[in-house]
């Protein structure tokens, strides 16, 4: 009667202290440019990286998306620092010159570094993405990154287990992004705080690995440090043949181990929530927290009609976002679009956006940054880049880019951006930037009309 969380936890528990804290073994540690604080802590103590063979460096947060264009030296320095730290400690690096470079949560799975049953840490809250494979994956802070570098272990208290079950069939153009924004809107941005979320149900089973990654990626936006989906044939098909994945007899042994990675039928969860996939519409955020999200057909909320406790936050959010209560969300003009990020920049996301944009023009400028350079190449092989550029959008290299703006890809103050990213926080995409989160297809629809738009009519007569 164990949950998937219990099974993963028990497989990694080196020991448990009397106070209930576990010391967990870390199978993969992914480090990006932000690790400079942690490497500095290591240097202060003169400690080596305990397991450079299980540690992988990735340049993504500060990666320039216009390669070859001179960079701000402070930004270039961040990438140099990562390269130097990796070289000093013998840590393999997916650097800017590597054809496999990309966003850490895209290339981990793409390279087969992410596997079911592993414990994966990275100094990034969207590490929950890797839970889509049935891995125990969670984001950690710099002190913990230093600890993992030094010991290949992490101290952690077992979270409570929560299951979000989504049954039924998603409607046309309704995606994993919409499932996520919908549950976060219903339960709140701290709705799953203290919990590890396991996603289950027929609608989740029907998702591709890309969709499952999007769903698990956004767990943290609902307060959960962990998101996971039990591995199945879809998972194994995705993993098999990946460069770092096991093969031959090792593959068979791995498969045998992975077979047990599911919650037992009689497993008890601390919290269970159910959603009906058929009730979920394409969803857009209107405020400055991911919980401030509504179906595209809704009207912008009137704070006066919201319950006390939500009203003041809504008022402040609408003020920041420059929106008028009571007006339809649809038709709100946007200044630009961004398609990218660890949430929604995989090949399937690019295909979905291209299906909307094919043969059409974008009315507003926008940028498309693939999740990895391999995704970029694959998209080019499929001709997707030509659809984006013919529509008037900029096709750029891979990195975190305009999701977080560290590389200088910023939304200007007061500008409104339809974005396939994960956070609509104040200033997230740039000081004073106004972000609306939505699925890649919805971003494409916003590009085509220059407003927040229901993508579904635009897909009539087209293969989505």
């Amino acid at each position: 009667m164990s949950t998937l969380l219990d099974k993963l936890w028990d497989r990694h528990e080196v020991l448990r202290r009397e106070d209930g804290t576990s010391l967990l073994w870390v199978d993969r540690h992914l480090v990006h440019e932000g690790s400079h604080h942690a490497f500095a802590k290591l240097a202060e103590r003169g400690l080596p990286v305990a397991r450079p063979d299980l540690t992988f460096g990735v340049a993504d947060h500060y990666a320039p998306t216009r390669r070859g264009v001179a960079q701000d030296p402070r930004i270039a320095d961040m990438i140099d620092r990562l390269s130097a730290n990796c070289a000093r400690h013998g840590v393999p690096l997916f650097g800017l010159e590597d054809r496999r470079q990309g966003i850490v949560h895209v290339i981990g799975p793409e390279q087969g570094l992410t596997l079911p049953g592993l414990l994966i840490n990275c100094g990034d809250s969207h590490t929950s993405t890797h839970g889509a494979f049935g891995a125990l994956a969670f984001g950690i802070g710099a002190t913990e990154v230093a600890h993992v570098l030094a010991t290949q272990t992490v101290w952690q208290t077992r979270p409570r287990a929560m299951r979000i079950t989504v049954d039924g069939t998603l409607g046309p153009a309704v995606t994993a992004k919409d499932i996520a924004l919908n549950w976060i809107a219903q339960l709140g941005a701290d709705g799953a705080r203290g919990h590890a979320v396991e996603y289950a149900g027929s609608a989740v089973r029907s998702l591709s690995m890309e969709g499952r990654m999007t769903l698990c990626n956004l767990s943290i936006e609902g307060g959960a440090r962990f998101g996971m989906v039990a591995p199945d044939a879809v998972t194994f098909d995705y993993v098999k043949g990946r460069p770092y994945a096991p093969d031959g007899a090792e593959w068979d042994r791995a498969l045998a181990d992975w077979a047990a990675l599911a919650s037992d039928p009689d497993a008890v969860f601390d919290r269970e929530v159910h959603f009906d996939a058929g009730q979920i519409a394409p969803t857009v955020t209107w405020g400055t927290s991911p919980e401030q999200a509504l179906p595209i057909g809704a009207t912008i909320p009137d704070p006066a009609r919201l319950p006390e406790g939500k009203a003041e936050a809504a008022r402040a959010a609408l003020d920041y976002m420059g929106l008028t209560p009571g007006r339809p969300l649809e038709g709100t003009p946007v200044d630009q679009v961004f398609l990218g990020s660890c949430t929604n920049a995989r090949i399937e996301d690019l295909r979905a956006a291209a299906a909307v944009l094919a043969g059409r023009q974008a009315r507003v400028p926008g940028m498309v940054s693939p999740g990895s350079m391999l995704v970029k190449r694959q998209a080019e092989d499929e001709g997707l880049d030509r659809i984006f550029t013919a529509a008037g959008l900029e096709w750029v290299a891979s990195g975190c880019s305009m999701c977080v703006g560290m590389n200088g890809d910023l939304v200007a103050p007061g500008k409104r951006c339809a974005s396939s990213t994960n956070r609509n926080f104040r200033g997230r995409q740039g000081q004073g930037a106004r972000t609306h989160l939505m699925s890649p297809a919805m971003v494409a629809a916003a590009a085509v009309t220059g407003t927040l738009t229901d993508v579904r009519p635009l897909l009539q007569g087209r293969a989505a």
Binding site: D19, W25, Q111, G112, R193, P243, R253, R423, R426, G427
Partner: protein
């Protein structure tokens, strides 16, 4: 990191929900070495919040709304608070990663379900005290109990350093590592080929 059990200081309130880590420190400041200090980056672009903090120079106890520190795992959000002199944040709830980061830097994330009595007390005076052992925050005549995970409380009081503590278990860790199934190791000579999604 030095441990502590009691802290007396001045309180200040930002009774706003969802003060996320992007607000606490905008991303553009995070390339700064810690040695240069992060205090000046705290809530840098949030004019109203910044004004409230500036009106209470020397404040070391922050009272805030629900889901404080949600979002990114950036420990820089804690550095900004700590370097600005804060020792405790009192809020109905915290982002999980933020709270762990806070404890690792001696900053106490104290959970108080209803901050209204503290906000009322703050109208008449801002002298506050946190008693970590008793889990009580006192503001003027108002004393309110707070919640904190026992593990975190112990860690704050002792000022434990995790790396030193963990190294005491080196033998157990080595044995565990040796027993990991071989398939969990990444291939040292990864297969050539696309590795791209299909």
């Amino acid at each position: 990191m030095a441990g502590w059990t009691r802290h007396k200081g001045q309180a200040v309130a930002l009774p706003i929900d969802n003060i996320d880590t992007d607000q606490l420190i905008p991303a553009r400041f995070m390339s700064t070495p810690r040695s240069e200090g992060y205090g000046r980056f705290l809530l840098h672009d949030q004019d109203a919040a910044r004004a409230a903090l500036d009106a209470a120079p020397g404040a070391s106890i922050l009272i805030a709304g629900r889901n404080f520190g949600s979002g990114s795992s950036r420990e820089a959000a804690v550095y900004a608070l700590a370097d600005a002199g804060f020792r405790a944040v009192i809020a109905p709830s915290f982002g999980d990663i933020f709270a762990g980061n806070a404890v690792n830097n001696g900053l106490c994330p104290a959970r108080v379900e209803d901050i209204a009595p503290l906000l009322r007390a703050l109208e008449t005076g801002d002298k506050a005290e946190i008693d970590l052992e008793a889990q009580i925050v006192t503001l003027g005549d108002t004393a309110v109990p707070f919640d904190i995970a026992p593990v975190w409380k112990t860690k704050l009081i002792n000022g434990w350093d995790d790396i030193d503590m963990t190294r005491a278990y080196d033998t157990q860790i080595a044995a565990f590592a040796a027993a990991r199934p071989h398939w969990t190791q990444p291939k040292t000579e990864p297969r050539a080929g696309s590795g791209a999604d299909t």
